[in-house]
């Protein structure tokens, strides 16, 4: 593959990820490859002369071999290992890591809720109202949320996930790995009071 070919491949591959990020989708290496195939970017390796008989690069094989390196090394892109075990790519400028992680975990309400609760408790720090998970981009139903919390309560891996009620009747979720119960209670009560404290 010539330098020019590599540049062309890089540009096309990156654009696939950028476009997916713009549309709020994550991309795997395979997704990128298939998109480039569909675009007709490659030339068959065997007997691959085009109508003028010349063999052009990159071939599908060459592109497949180079793609992972191209995506991993590009400054506009970021990646992480997704729930499927595959590496997923996104453009952080268009699709933040926080949002990308939420999209990736949408297939597993258990991880979706637990990791979001943990991240909030760790980073801000704060507990989150249970209704957070009903709204986009989480989009869980109340029944799914209840079911998921029930599973967490019984699973040793999620014993850090806890809840605190407020005097207004709201329920806030937090992780004991990152927030003490008393402080979580205080923060939940405060969060509820904000609409009364302009």
């Amino acid at each position: 593959m010539t330098g020019e070919d590599k540049a062309r491949l890089t540009q096309a591959a990156v654009e696939v990820v950028l476009q997916a990020s713009r549309e709020g989708r994550l991309t795997t290496e395979d997704d990128v490859f298939q998109a480039l195939v569909a675009e007709g970017l490659f030339h068959p390796a065997e007997g691959g002369g085009d109508s003028d008989g010349a063999r052009r690069t990159p071939t599908e094989e060459e592109a497949a071999a180079a793609l992972a390196g191209i995506l991993a090394g590009h400054p506009w892109l970021a990646s992480f290992e997704g729930l499927s075990g595959q590496r997923v790519y996104h453009s952080p400028d268009l699709l933040s890591l926080t949002y990308a992680r939420i999209l990736d975990r949408k297939g597993s309400p258990l991880l979706l809720m637990a990791e979001e609760i943990r991240a909030n408790s760790r980073d801000y720090p704060r507990p989150v109202p249970v209704e957070l998970f009903e709204a986009p981009p989480f989009d869980l139903t109340p029944a799914e949320i209840e079911h998921t919390l029930g599973i967490m309560a019984a699973d040793p891996q999620y014993q850090d996930i806890s809840f605190t009620p407020t005097s207004t009747g709201a329920v806030y979720l937090f992780s004991t790995l990152h927030l003490e119960r008393g402080y979580a209670q205080f923060l939940a009560q405060r969060a509820e009071s904000l609409a009364m404290n302009p």
Partner: protein, 705 residues
């Protein structure tokens, strides 16, 4: 008189109601050292209102002052400071100001004036007609007794649709200390309506055919405005939305940025669905919905749109349409307001059927806005409502009020959370009817002076949120530890400062806030996690100083301190930082008077220090530390007994707060024993004569009587 090169309109209008004399002064020549707004107001009071003047004395003056950036295209401008001897300040009325947004400031500037100084007292009710250079006092006999809405309508019909009317209602006419002046329906300045009433001035109608010139390069000006727009968040400069977005790493369910694609202004005709990219600069006005924030998601279906001040894309005054209240209570189905004005009615009730975000709460808000914004009644930042709750539920009211009057009030409705209760209580207070109306219309001070309730009953009660001098806390230790407490000690009314709280509530994670804090105030330790307070340090004192100075700057430039300063932003590409020099860059370009951030901050400090000097002079008291900068007892207690600096308490430590005040006085250049500025500080800020005048009264540190 030379025309102003830009920013300033150029003239200050003076109207003597006693003599009918109308005159003008050159703004820059006469008031340029104090910018405008509160700065100009303090200067007028310092120079012209003698110590000991009462709020309703003819000698008191009422200064409506805008600033150099009002009426321009700068986002979040349009504020007018109304400065006077403040009637709700207890036990002795002192200088303070109310602040109104809307379109009044811009119109006053387009008419050619940066400020309007009202003096004396008219013999009979008048209203002030301002159409550019044409200024007249007109008879207001036909308006006296009318509410703010009818007054505004009648004057608008007389002047034409392009006018703006700032009017008082019955509360102001009856000299209620708890009265507002309001323009553009819902934009009010609290506490000053009675002063206007005492002068027999019902309203000011303004029409202006001019414009505000910009001295600097137009391209640069436009570029700076675009930049400012790009660093705006939602209301209160909450820079992250309440929901995760692809554009940001952060979100905060408690953010006032509640608008997102898919939400609808359900009562608009036709309803408007929010679409597109909420980060787009043309989508800023969709981010804020005060009603949805304060009343919950149900408010979206009643939302017509946002309303707001000149050139402000935030539009925090949400217009609500609730046909049910027209049918049920016979009132207008449309109302608009923000924050405490929006919640005026709801705040009276301890409990409401369906909770504080249910249908009854919505109806209480609608009834409250309908009545209070027409009567021209102020709530003293929610203290009126809390006072009534405490009086009633602690049995104080029954003990103090005559039994016949007590029995005449529908307390059953109050306890049941029936919004119809407001039709009894609000006119009672606004029109000062009966003993209860008389007392509550004075503000919390009425309870102390008329009913001899000891102030300690309020300073010790955690539910009152009362601070001092007749006024409540305004973003104190519950938001910002020592910094919030210091700020709340400084004014003669509630502090009205948002510089600090807009930062700590901005929604960014604590480590990002600390990184920004290190850049702005020199140390990450200038900011704590809420309720996880650490002992006082000098960086916090610097941040308190910065917060107060910027508040005064905003109030003097015509900018909204409910939004600024803009030191954080939604921009990931900037690491979520904003711009600490925005105000000085705008001021330099607008006026052609080039000044850097430090230079403008020095003027802000001058203005704040003049407020301090006025307070010292009029209190006749040097020992501000003990006599003025008081902190209520509840700040030093925790209902569950938690110790200060333990996680999950807002309880402060007395010794630490004493140290905090020491550090604050030190960074201000004030004497730490008395909390009074030194002559050196007055001189450093160009206030040498102010210091000398205080020295002559033995009110300078080291010169105690």
């Amino acid at each position: 008189m030379a025309a102003s090169p830009g920013g300033f309109a150029g003239k200050v209008l003076r109207v003597d109601l006693s003599t009918g004399k109308i005159s003008t002064q050159d703004t820059i020549e006469r008031y340029g050292d104090f910018l405008g707004g509160t700065g100009l107001g303090y200067q007028v009071l310092w120079e012209e209102v003698p110590s000991g003047t009462g709020p309703f004395d003819a000698a008191n003056k009422l200064v409506f002052a805008t600033g150099a950036l009002a009426g321009t295209g700068v986002p979040c401008n349009g504020r007018t400071a109304v400065t006077t001897i403040f009637p709700t300040c207890w036990p002795k009325p002192l200088v303070a100001s109310g602040h109104m947004g809307g379109q009044f400031a811009a119109k006053l500037k387009y008419a050619g004036y940066d400020a309007l100084i009202i003096e004396g007292r008219a013999e009979k009710p008048v209203w002030l007609f301002i159409r550019d250079a044409q200024v007249q006092l007109r008879d207001a006999a036909h308006l006296w007794g009318a509410g703010i809405r009818r007054t505004s309508l009648e004057i608008s019909q007389e002047m034409g649709a392009s006018c703006v009317v700032a009017a008082i209602g019955q509360a102001g006419e009856k000299l209620a200390p708890m009265a507002i002046v309001a323009n553009s329906l819902s934009h009010s300045a609290g506490g000053v309506g009675g002063v206007m009433g005492s002068k027999n001035l019902k309203a000011v109608g303004v029409q202006g055919g001019g414009a505000v010139r910009i001295a600097g390069d137009k391209g640069e000006w436009e570029k700076l405005i675009k930049f400012h727009l790009s660093i705006l968040g939602g209301n209160n400069q909450h820079v992250v939305p309440s929901f995760p977005t692809p554009q940001s790493e952060y979100y905060n369910p408690g953010s006032r940025w509640v608008g997102e694609p898919g939400r609808r202004w359900g009562a608009a005709q036709p309803p408007i669905e929010i679409t597109g990219n909420i980060y787009d600069l043309n989508r800023i006005a969709y981010r804020t919905n005060s009603a949805a924030f304060f009343l919950g998601d149900g408010a979206w279906q009643h939302t017509v749109r946002g309303n707001g001040c000149t050139a402000c894309p935030i539009r925090c005054h949400t217009i609500l349409k609730v046909p049910a209240v027209a049918a049920k209570y016979g009132i207008r189905e449309i109302a608009q307001n923000t924050c405490v004005g929006l919640m005026f009615g709801r705040g009276f009730f301890k409990k409401l059927p369906g909770g504080m975000k249910g249908q009854a709460a919505l109806e209480a808000c609608m009834v409250g806005m309908h009545l209070a914004d027409d009567l021209g009644l102020w709530c003293n930042y929610g203290q009126l409502q809390r006072d009534l709750q405490k009086l009633f539920y602690d049995g104080l009211l029954k003990a103090k009020l005559g039994s016949a009057e007590y029995a005449s009030i529908p307390w059953d409705k109050y306890v049941a959370g029936d919004p119809a209760f407001l039709f009894d209580i609000l006119p009672r207070i606004g029109q000062r009817r009966g003993e209860l109306g008389q007392v509550l219309s004075q503000g919390t001070s009425g309870l102390f002076s008329q009913w001899s309730i000891p102030e300690e009953t309020w300073t010790q009660g955690h539910d009152t949120l009362y601070w001092k001098m007749g006024h409540p806390k305004h973003h104190a230790n519950e938001d910002d530890g020592q910094c919030g407490v210091i700020i709340n000690t400084q004014y003669n009314r509630d502090a009205q400062c948002h510089s600090h709280t807009n930062f700590v509530r901005n929604g960014l994670p604590l480590n990002v806030q600390k990184r920004l804090a290190a850049e702005i105030w020199g140390s990450p330790d200038s900011v704590d996690g809420v309720g996880d307070y650490t002992p006082m340090n000098p960086h916090k004192a610097r941040r308190a100083r910065w917060s107060l100075v910027r508040k005064e700057l905003h109030d003097s430039l015509g900018l909204c301190n409910w939004m600024g300063p803009w030191v954080a932003s939604p921009l990931k590409s900037r690491g979520y930082s904003g711009d600490d020099s925005l105000e000085s860059r705008f001021y330099s370009l607008a006026t052609g008077r080039k000044i850097d951030r430090e230079g403008l901050d020095r003027i802000g400090e001058r203005i704040f220090t003049l407020h301090r000097a006025l307070t010292i002079r009029d209190m006749g008291q040097l020992d501000m530390r003990l006599q003025h900068d008081r902190v209520p007892d509840w700040v030093f207690e925790d209902p569950s007994g938690a110790s200060p600096f333990s996680k999950g308490t807002i309880r402060m430590d007395r010794a630490d707060m004493a140290k905090a005040m020491d550090m604050f006085y030190k960074v201000m250049g004030w004497d730490t024993t008395t909390g009074a500025p030194t002559q050196e500080t007055y001189s450093r800020l160009g206030l040498t004569e102010v210091g000398q005048s205080l020295k002559a009264r033995k009110l300078l540190p080291g010169d105690a009587a």
